[in-house]
């Protein structure tokens, strides 16, 4: 290499700017790297907000499908030469979330990766070791090297998988329509009395018919249970129902009331309570997409968290076997092939 090339390589290695996109849990070990604890600016590294001025992308942990699309778009905007490094086990193998419906399993199925750091999660020292290794490696690369590139079939793969999920969802709802499900579930309305009390947790479990849920919650709201804690659901395919728990709470005293009701699995519908408790608007959205319960009267029932992540059937239903699906689609049918 000539003197000019040497100078270019040196200058390049001394000004690695990282695009500021903390995509997953590995990012929590980055502040010590960035700030005075380890101080990566000694090596010329720096986080920048815009991809158009950056040279480096670091994959920090699991790749949800929605985030990966953002990463691919960032990579398209970054000027050459651009580099991709990856940390954490999830970017390499799917890691702990190997059977998750919402993540892709390997970063190098979508782009070329220059350096890896293993661990769950890698400590800030590990990250720093990767960055210093990378710093030396970049110096040796030829001047006209363009660095990591996005694989040409990256978008194609994503589209194919999403299509498969959509087909599965159609199949699922079709088969649910065809099968007869008998409701065989013992239930007796006890509201406003408690069926069960737990003194140490200050809980009171009561039951109410699904048709009267709004009435019951309105009454509790007027009694001072103004804080909604959560809406829980338990799917019981053997009984043909989904149990729904509404949990409301009285602040200061800490008393909680669990209102239990049920809806049939086949036509899972219940009245929305978003006008009584404003937070219920969002909890209902989540319950709708993940459990497949329809809330009557909800103004904008749609895919929310799963939007862009999962096109398949509601993942929390017991008859939706997600691990089997993931093994078939992402690991080629071999459970330990990852």
């Amino acid at each position: 290499m000539g003197l000019l090339e040497d100078f270019v390589a040196w200058a390049r290695s001394k000004s690695m700017w990282l695009v500021h996109y903390c995509a997953a849990c590995g990012a929590i070990e980055f502040p010590p790297v960035v700030t005075s604890v380890l101080d990566w600016e000694r090596y010329g590294y720096m986080p920048v907000p815009t991809p158009r001025q950056s040279d480096l992308y670091a994959g920090m942990g699991y790749l949800t499908k929605k985030s990966l699309k953002v990463v691919l778009r960032l990579l398209e905007q970054m000027p050459n030469p651009k580099w991709v490094v990856a940390g954490c086990n999830c970017t390499a193998t799917g890691g702990l979330y190997w059977d998750s419906y919402a993540t892709y399993k390997r970063l190098d199925e979508f782009m070329q990766v220059e350096g890896w750091v293993p661990g769950c999660m890698p400590t800030s020292d590990d990250w720093f070791a990767l960055l210093t290794y990378f710093y030396n490696k970049v110096k040796e690369r030829p001047v006209n090297d363009k660095g990591s590139r996005k694989l040409s079939d990256a978008w194609e793969k994503i589209r194919k998988w999403e299509e498969m999920e959509r087909e599965w969802a159609e199949e699922y709802w079709e088969s649910l329509k065809k099968t007869e499900i008998k409701v065989n579930y013992q239930f007796e309305e006890k509201f406003p009395e408690c069926v069960e009390r737990n003194e140490s947790l200050k809980l009171c479990l009561t039951t109410v018919e699904a048709g009267r849920i709004r009435e019951a919650l309105k009454k509790l709201y007027d009694e001072g249970y103004t804080l909604i804690n959560n809406i829980n659901t338990v799917d019981l395919p053997k009984n043909g129902v989904i149990e729904v728990y509404y949990i409301v709470e009285k602040p200061l005293e800490g008393d909680q009331v669990w209102v239990k009701t049920y809806v049939p699995r086949k036509e899972a519908e219940i009245d929305s309570i978003h006008d009584i408790y404003s937070l219920a608007y969002y909890i209902e959205l989540e319950t709708h997409e993940k459990m497949g319960i329809k809330f009557r009267g909800h103004p904008n029932l749609r895919k929310w968290i799963l939007e862009g992540n999962w096109e398949g059937p509601p993942p929390l239903r017991k008859d939706v076997d997600i691990p089997k699906w993931v093994i078939k689609v992402h690991y080629g049918g071999y459970a330990y092939g990852r």
Partner: protein, 370 residues
């Protein structure tokens, strides 16, 4: 929502790739000039599907996965899952385990609040205090590394007690760490809370009054800053919180500044709890009961006061090796949806104020998606 009133305004994406966004999460903002008229959360960038994954793993395997809902505050969730399973099995765990769990829980809270201080300082442009708080947080992480063996994720509070016995110099180590943190936090507090820029950006901004806060579903420091002294540790004591002395710091105005003050006061209260609890940890005491391989049918519930509010963990067993259903309350959901909408409705929020108000509420993005 994008109704008729906002149809003429500009829609702007805020995040997920934005330094002011609290983690990997996006907003759709509707703007009229500089002013934010409406904000709509766009979640899902951190979805992993925990509730489904936990149904497919054995009870003891879920210890490792259960606390990853919120990366910034994993210890509260760890404790919550351990407690829920303890209740399901009707275990009365050894005293020593209870005290150590409490110390871990409080150190986790301190780490989370200090991490928040970094983000908050960044969003008002004071990078010095951000750097300092990361350095102070490093002391907590060092304590974890010595006692537990890992920095961020710990798997230390397990059903039946704690995973292993504490080291011999546990008491000295803990007290030394507490002293060091107190010294560092005092500096950060003085530099941040008395700073005129910080005051100008936060005082009277993002006001949520007590009554409203409850109706919006807010718990934790953001509720206490509005003057409601509601803390699960006092209201429904778990572990040995009924045996230690501590105060619930509250604010008056419920603005961003009060929320910051409450968090710093909470760090001092946590240190107070740690100092009392460490006296009760005696060497040689039993520290764990072993888990049986199968778990009887039933339900276990735990309510935990985490750094951001009330976590409620609900586990359902139908016998066998795996849970039938696990459900968790998202503490950040009200902060990022109803609370921010309430503020935008009542105040003139400019686009520059938006990250500051959001930062002062301290939401944890992954716990919405799960």
């Amino acid at each position: 929502m994008a109704g008729e009133s906002v149809s003429k305004s500009l829609m702007l994406y805020f995040g997920p790739q934005h330094p002011g966004a609290p983690g990997n999460v996006a907003y759709k903002l509707w703007l009229d000039g500089e002013r934010v008229i409406d904000a709509e959360l766009v979640p899902g960038f951190l979805l992993r599907g925990f509730e489904m994954m936990m149904e497919n793993r054995a009870w003891e395997m879920n210890i490792v996965i259960g606390y990853r809902f919120c990366v910034e505050d994993p210890d509260s969730l760890e404790l919550g899952y351990a407690e829920a399973v303890d209740r399901l099995l009707k275990y009365d765990i050894p005293e020593k385990a209870k005290w150590v769990r409490m110390i871990q829980h409080e150190f986790g809270r301190i780490a989370s609040h200090l991490f928040w201080a970094n983000h908050m300082s960044g969003s008002v442009g004071l990078r010095t205090t951000g750097f300092w708080s990361i350095a102070a947080r490093e002391e907590v992480l060092k304590w974890f590394y010595k006692v537990v063996g890992h920095r961020i994720y710990h798997s230390f509070s397990v059903p039946g007690g704690i995973r292993w016995d504490v080291p011999k110099d546990f008491k000295e180590l803990t007290l030394k760490t507490a002293d060091k943190i107190e010294e560092l936090v005092k500096d950060i507090e003085a530099a941040l809370l008395k700073n005129s820029v910080f005051k100008a950006r936060t005082k009277g901004v993002g006001v949520i009054k007590g009554e409203d806060a409850i109706k919006l579903g807010i718990t934790g420091p953001s509720l206490r800053a509005a003057g409601v002294s509601y803390d699960i540790r006092k209201a429904v004591p778990y572990e040995n919180y009924d045996k230690v002395k501590f105060d619930i710091p509250t604010g008056e105005n419920g603005d961003s500044y009060d929320r910051a003050v409450v968090r710093f006061k909470e760090i001092h209260q946590s240190l107070r709890i740690i100092r009392q609890a460490v006296e009760e940890v005696k060497p040689g005491d039993p520290w764990r009961i072993k888990l049986p391989l199968t778990v009887p049918p039933g339900t276990g519930i735990a309510r935990v006061e985490a750094a951001r509010g009330e976590y409620m963990i609900h586990v359902v067993s139908q016998g066998g090796r795996k849970p039938y259903r696990v459900r968790l309350r998202s503490v950040s959901l009200p902060l990022m949806t109803t609370a921010i909408k309430h503020v935008i409705k009542n105040e003139e929020v400019t686009i520059a104020d938006f990250p500051v108000i959001l930062g002062s509420l301290d939401p944890c993005a992954p716990d919405i998606d799960r």
